[in-house]
């Protein structure tokens, strides 16, 4: 990758914040249903971006052997190109559930280093959940991705593979 392909992350971080506040302003703060709609909207945007990114990142890689191989690619290469670090821990029950743990997730590191603002964390993770789901979807894996945070800035993404 040459310099031309690089941008400054400050720009992305600010855009990401702005996207969230824009989606939430349009939706208003009326209860859980509205909140769910906003999360879905953010997730869908992430999905589309994930699809685009994976298409470009995998164009020179060898064919993947299996599901685990794909997950490893997502944890290492994909995560590194997007968030500049690898997923810290990948666990699976070998029945289609994977847990990706990032101990210092880029999009929430600047918010807090503890339990403060914990209730706002879901907004800041929805886009990234979509990112993973979109990426996997373009590699032929249908999945449901959720995220959970107990102490910021660590977070866990749970990927449930949908068997066809």
């Amino acid at each position: 990758m040459n310099k031309q392909d690089m941008a400054d992350e400050a720009l992305f971080l600010l855009l990401h914040n702005e996207v969230i506040s824009c989606v939430y302003k349009a939706g208003g703060d009326q209860g859980d249903a509205e909140n769910g709609k906003c999360i879905t909207k953010l997730e869908n945007m992430g999905f589309r971006v994930g699809q685009g990114l994976i298409e470009r990142f995998t164009k020179d890689t060898a064919r993947f052997k299996d599901e685990l191989d794909i997950m490893k690619f997502v944890c290492k290469d994909f995560w590194t190109t997007v968030f500049k670090k690898q997923i810290d821990n990948l666990r699976t029950n070998h029945q289609g559930i994977y847990v990706l743990q990032d101990n210092k997730f880029r999009l929430i590191t600047q918010m807090s280093a503890g339990k403060q603002y914990l209730e706002h964390a879901p907004k800041y993770l929805a886009f990234s959940c979509g990112l993973i789901r979109g990426g996997l979807s373009n590699l032929g894996i249908k999945s449901i991705v959720t995220a959970e945070v107990s102490v910021m800035p660590a977070c866990k993404f749970q990927v449930m593979i949908q068997k066809l």
Partner: protein
Amino acid sequence: MSRQTNRGTESKKMYWYLPFISPTASMHLMNSELFTLTYGALVTQLCKDYENDEDVNKQLEKMGYNIGVRLIEDFLARSSIGRCHDFRETADVIAKVAFKMYLGITPTITNWSPAGDEFSLILENNPLVDFVELPDNHSTLVYSNLLCGVLRGALEMVQMAVDVKFAQDTLKGDSVTEIRMKFIRRIEDNLPAGEE
């Protein structure tokens, strides 16, 4: 002796340097496709949410403004740039330092008005539009309008009211992308006492 004086003037000419190439700056680098695609997803979503392009343009500008207001702090903290003495210097800093730092491109500055209060930034390749094609039913959409907001917001924080808009756009069939900047006035109020 003469060599000494030469060196003196040379060092005075250097108003600023590019933080982009410093080793610490690479810490802040990331894949630009993520930004480009995220921006695309945002515009797509706004086009779904709003009925006409004008509203989308307005919303993009507003979001850009909010970004610019914050981005200027990042910019001032990381570059060693002080206050600009005139609008020409501002233009230089925007094109050669700010655009380079955040988008990795250096637009050319042209079309100065005789009064020196208006100029154009010519973008050869706008990274925001990398994978974009405008459909026919969105002819009034200013796709990269976020940039205008960013420039306006950032300059407002350094006491400059500036009018920013797209004059030409490659997405609409023009040969280049042109951003027109017009200096309106200096914002005098809200300066803390005792500061220049």
